[in-house]
């Protein structure tokens, strides 16, 4: 039982990182109907920035202060990167057929991956130990470590901030309007380009935070690390219902939990296939995702 609880805690920690990445996918899909394949690589850049920032900038800082600075650096770099990607690669194709944007997204993703290999080197790097691991408290035999506590805390705070932005602010309202209809929102004066840029910046910052959280939990970072988590986070977004923010959260947690259970109780070799089996099952049973609703085409 205590083992099961421990697996659950580990799964929730992984799941909240998936959820952070999945939120970026779901928001971009919401406003542009585009699978941003480069999102997983933005998360990789977040982890890489964390690695360099952790080693270079924060060397003199006390242990407690280093982590927030590194997190802020990664989020800032990823925010700028997300803005640039949208501006340079996706905006010229805003009105092009969907397939062209998808291919561009793959191109951007490959560019970041292999550009990253040239820039950072292909070998894995060891993330600096920003948070010294130490068991904090115990529930029914399951130990929650300091790193996991930080992951939960950061993920919760960021999601609360995101929820506040989307629900309470003018920009959030504009985002929801754009995801409802491009044309209608422009007619009532919503600045489409600004809203789309803002969505990319927001989503990329969350991915950057996810990168740093992965770095402290699992300290090997390398340029191709974003591919699998990116795909799984996308599957998590589809599981929850793509375009739906609470859905991305639920999908991410579900994905993290089921993966940890499979590794713990079945075999680690099936870990990478699980996400896609889940995807195909969910598409068979509930194509709109758990929280989504299927919409039929109108002419």
């Amino acid at each position: 039982m205590s083992e099961f609880l421990q697996q659950t805690v580990n799964g929730l920690a992984w799941g909240s990182i998936y959820a952070l990445i999945a939120l970026g996918y779901t928001m971009v899909y919401g406003v542009l109907r585009l699978i941003n394949f480069a999102h997983g690589d933005v998360y990789m850049i977040g982890a890489m920035t964390g690695y360099y920032a952790g080693n270079l900038i924060t060397r003199g800082l006390p242990a407690g202060a280093a982590f927030p600075v590194v997190l802020a650096c990664s989020m800032a770099v990823c925010g700028v990167l997300g803005f640039l990607i949208e501006r340079a690669a996706y905006r010229p194709l805003r009105n092009a057929p969907r397939i062209n944007s998808l291919i561009t997204a793959i191109g951007v993703s490959l560019l970041l991956e292999f550009g990253g290999q040239l820039l950072f080197g292909a070998d894995p790097k060891v993330f600096p130990p920003l948070i010294p691991e130490q068991p904090l408290f115990e529930i029914g035999g399951a130990v929650i470590g300091r790193i996991q506590a930080v992951i939960f805390a950061v993920a919760l705070v960021l999601m609360a901030v995101l929820r506040f932005i989307v629900v309470k602010t003018r920009l959030g309202k504009a985002m929801r309007a754009v995801s409802f209809s491009h044309v209608a929102s422009q007619l009532v004066g919503v600045p489409l380009d600004t809203v789309v840029s803002f969505t990319f910046v927001l989503g990329s910052m969350l991915a950057g935070a996810g990168g740093v959280l992965v770095g402290i939990a699992n300290p090997k970072v390398e340029p191709l690390m974003g591919i699998m988590p990116g795909l799984k986070a996308f599957v998590a977004a589809v599981l929850g219902g793509i375009g739906n923010i609470p859905g991305a959260l639920a999908g991410g947690l579900l994905m993290g939990l089921s993966e940890t259970y499979v590794v713990g109780y079945v075999s680690s070799t099936y870990r990478d296939a699980l996400a896609f089996v889940l995807l195909i099952l969910i598409l068979l049973v509930r194509p709109g995702g758990l929280f989504g609703k299927s919409v039929s085409d109108k002419v």
Partner: protein
């Protein structure tokens, strides 16, 4: 004029020509060049078959290498484990007759396996919009990889060795010829217009009575079948298989071929398959820049030149038959 008028005689003449080249010309070709030529042929089979799914029908598949892997493993398992020697049988037919027959059966088995997988994945995902297909096919590639790594009778994680070297110039280019002629015949026929209609506008296609899901699944299953055949040819050319040869990047390479050639142009796929197979050979020195070059090519091409080399045009000999 045009190969579409008399497909049977064109195929027969072409296969004969391939046989003549195989028998009389290949011994004089530099083995390295022959290897490149054969690689181009297999890439062309993959590109033309993917073009049916992505170019003509407008469905974005990112798992073409996965279907290729299925075909490769299935046909290799067929020739290794089900050949008459392994089963302890003596073929009734003379050697020169049953060997080609056996190889064709193996290729067909590979194609059929891939087509079956295509059907299973295609039916749920093709009811939805194209994006889901991309991600589901990508996932399928991953599922196939994990399953193959756990299957001992195809070598598991060590890779599959000891596949007979049955594939050669004759087989590869005959397959390519058959595929090209059938594809041109099919897509540019009156019924084939339904594929193009699905690509252009699904809602409009449905409203004129086209069963869009049926045509999407049909294109997907046929494309997967030929990807499986391509995989079978690949397996029996290299005589060794490992799942690493069929990763996501391989699928992307085929997508790049189709897009560079022009979505919906068979000629374009052929040209692009040749170009993009030759290019890395010429750029061997700059190998680490190759993928960056690919990536930039994709982005820049989509922005500046979204229709590819040929657009939707074809060379004259492959053009539509006037009714």
């Amino acid at each position: 004029m045009g190969i579409l008028r008399k497909p049977v005689s064109v195929i027969a003449a072409g296969i004969l020509a391939c046989w003549v080249v195989q028998e009389f010309a290949t011994p004089w070709i530099n083995p390295y060049h022959l290897q490149i030529l054969n690689t181009i042929g297999i890439a062309a089979v993959m590109a033309v078959s993917l073009n049916l799914i992505t170019g003509h029908t407008g469905q974005f598949s990112l798992g073409h290498a996965g279907f290729m892997a299925l075909g490769a493993y299935a046909s290799a398992a067929f020739t290794v484990h089900l050949n008459p020697d392994a089963l302890g049988l003596v073929p009734i037919l003379p050697d020169w007759a049953w060997r080609p027959l056996f190889f064709v059966t193996a290729l067909a088995a590979g194609g059929a396996t891939a087509a079956l997988a295509g059907l299973i994945v295609g039916i749920p995902t093709l009811r939805l919009k194209g994006d889901y297909l991309a991600i589901a096919t990508l996932g399928l590639g991953e599922i196939i990889r994990v399953i193959v790594l756990n299957l001992e009778f195809v070598g598991g994680a060590r890779g599959f060795t000891g596949i007979p070297e049955s594939s050669n110039f004759f087989w590869i280019f005959s397959a390519l010829l058959v595929l090209t002629v059938l594809m041109a015949r099919g897509v540019y026929s009156l019924k084939g217009l339904a594929f193009l209609a699905v690509r252009e506008d699904e809602v409009a296609a449905r409203s004129v009575g086209i069963n869009t899901t049926r045509y999407k699944v049909l294109a997907f299953v046929l494309g997967s079948f030929w990807a499986g055949v391509g995989g079978g040819l690949f397996a029996h050319l290299n005589t060794y298989l490992h799942t690493n040869s069929f990763g996501f990047l391989k699928s992307v390479e085929y997508v790049v071929m189709v897009v560079l050639g022009g979505l919906g142009s068979i000629t374009g796929s052929l040209v692009a398959a040749a170009l993009l197979t030759l290019l890395p050979e010429l750029l061997r020195i700059a190998s680490e820049w190759r993928m960056i070059f690919y990536a930039l090519l994709l982005v820049v091409m989509m922005i500046l030149w979204p229709r590819g080399l040929m657009g939707q045009r074809e060379l004259r000999w492959i053009r539509r038959v006037k009714p």
